[in-house]
Symmetry: C2
Subunit: 372 residues, 2 copies
């Protein structure tokens, strides 16, 4: 399923072979929680070069419901997206969205935050649902905990995640399909738990490995420390996915440590509020200083937004709560990250990734330093 | 500025020659109140064949302000739209949006519904502002009144509108520009006032004539009666614009009576709520009956939305409050009206407009009748 094409120290360029197509890594996956990447059409996602997107089992399970998507002939057809889709299991959403929830060894029962209905997800139903709707990469149900959590809580959640991973794997063996199944490494911010979780998850032999439960509020140094513990254990012939990372610098740091896949709502969420990535750092277009700035969001960007629209116009749209404003910044931010991934590919192939990262980082952080 | 190419009884096909290009009539103008057609990019507007759009003097005067648009090099450059723009004067918005307003002979003073600031618009400033930002067709400031209004109130508002029209014309003569200036016919629902208003406005010799103050809640029969009174007076060599009409049947009825131009927020506003035009009538995609309907909004439509997305998916998006849903229905509704205008062109040229209108109307209203 995965092939490494080139490496530069730990950074690597590879290919993922999936039912709906080939994905070039390192890859950033735009998040389409409710079967739509907020503000983007499928055609626009292709235009910016998205090769794989994310959807969320929890959300689509609640609305429109799996039956609707099955009737459509699967999620790809339902949302008019013919490239790969990865679904997050919903463990995180159960924790963060449903007010009433009960986690037992069997699975999670919770109240729909939409209909109030009582629902249940087990490791087995998560695989079943996702196979039914033709998902390319399935994330098994995991037990997510907030940051900070105690060692004991973290250990318990990790153990449960391991048991659920085992059940997910078994269910899939009895119900084979083209869908790929990843294992999720938990263990919070405790390096020894991370190590244990990684070793035991790897021993189950999944199609790929995800790092969950990081980038949830812990200091960056702790995040990287725990990431490195895990990366040293993960096998080189399988893809590695850091869940929930979307800041340009974080992506480059992740790539440098050997991560192949990323996702995050960050670029789309901040975009809707008018915050945009540029090569010289993040800017917020709501600021009065852009009111008569008729330059593009980023002078060096060649996306459709930067070719056609000015900061002043986008600021006007955002201030006026016009959806076109959110759309334009979302488009630019995703384009920016996807382009960054392409530049990272090239830098790895040309064995100059570390230099590329440093240059990008220096310029990106220059404004912050200027202010400091 | 206007040339009639073909006529079929009162219906006509023509061309408007404007600073930013040629517009084929009959034309429906999508409304871009705040310098953006809600949910549509300029590229999409071109894609659906929009030749002219509307903006609103009142709204852009308040936000982002005329200075910002002037600095951008005009409204076309500000919003990245290189085809003609018509601006409504804002008389209607002053009436409907500002809580505190005072109408004197000099003009209207009102409180911004955004900043609370006290502002003033006179017939002269409306022309000045619009010329400053390079508008193709300017609507002069008029005194709008609600429906119903008494004969006396309607007469007073009509007289003031005529005096303001005179001042607008004079100001423009002293400050010539490529912008075209229309006269607005008022007179409420009183045919004799409509006649007077039309005769006296026409005698001032504007570049075109608009019918204002109709389609504001009066019965359809009264609307058409008053429209016909005016149409009999308007000169054949000038364009005729019915302000605020956007229902497919109304457009065809208007064309049959000799109207060349239309605008309305109707297709975009109902689109954001999930209501879509189809050849067999209007449907509301929020309805549960579309939840597993994987056909396009309109089987006979060849727009990008109907080619790529299903009713069930769009319903899911609208129910989930995802902006893509509003966008897709908006796109389809505008495409539908613009296509209808193209079909009307052809029918007029082929001298079968009346037949075309009847056929369209019968199918469009069939569901309604079925229910009744």
């Amino acid at each position: 399923m995965f092939e490494a094409i080139a490496t530069d120290r730990n950074a690597r360029v590879g290919k993922l072979y999936l039912p709906y197509g080939i994905v070039n890594t390192p890859v950033f996956m735009p998040v389409g929680t409710q079967a739509t990447v907020k503000g983007m059409s499928s055609e626009e996602l292709k235009e910016i070069g998205a090769e794989i997107i994310l959807a969320n089992t929890y959300h689509i399970f609640l609305r429109p419901g799996i039956d609707v998507i099955k009737s459509a002939g699967g999620l790809h057809r339902f949302m008019n997206w013919d490239r790969p889709i990865l679904t997050d299991s919903g463990g995180f959403q159960v924790m963060s969205l449903s007010k009433i929830r009960k986690i037992t060894e069997e699975g999670v029962s919770f109240q729909s935050h939409i209909s109030g209905e009582r629902l249940f997800l087990s490791p087995e139903t998560v695989i079943e649902i996702n196979q039914d709707i033709g998902i390319d990469i399935i994330m098994p149900l995991d037990h997510c905990i907030p940051y900070p959590s105690s060692y004991e809580e973290t250990l318990q959640a990790m153990e449960r995640t391991l048991r659920w991973a085992e059940r997910s794997k078994k269910y899939k063996e009895y119900h084979p399909s083209g869908s790929k199944l990843f294992g999720i490494i938990q263990g919070g911010t405790f390096p020894d738990l991370r190590r244990q979780s990684a070793l035991r998850t790897v021993s189950m032999e999944f199609d790929g490995y995800a790092i969950g439960g990081l980038s949830v509020g812990e200091p960056q140094q702790i995040m990287y420390e725990n990431l490195e513990v895990v990366m040293n254990i993960l096998p080189k012939d399988k893809p590695r996915y850091f869940m929930g990372l979307g800041d340009p610098i974080n992506l480059l740091e992740g790539i440098e440590r050997g991560v192949d896949m990323f996702d995050c709502v960050f670029p789309t969420r901040i975009g809707r509020k008018g915050a945009a990535f540029t090569h010289s750092g993040r800017i917020n277009l709501r600021s009065a200083k852009y009111s008569i700035d008729f330059t593009p969001i980023d002078n060096e960007c060649d996306c459709y937004v930067c070719k056609n629209y000015s900061r002043a116009y986008i600021r006007h749209l955002i201030k006026s709560k016009e959806t076109l404003g959110m759309r334009l910044v979302t488009y630019h931010n995703l384009y920016f990250l996807l382009k960054l991934m392409k530049e990272a590919h090239l830098a790895i192939i040309q064995q100059r990734f570390s230099d590329f990262k440093e240059r990008f980082k220096n310029r990106y952080l220059q404004n912050k330093r200027g202010k400091g």
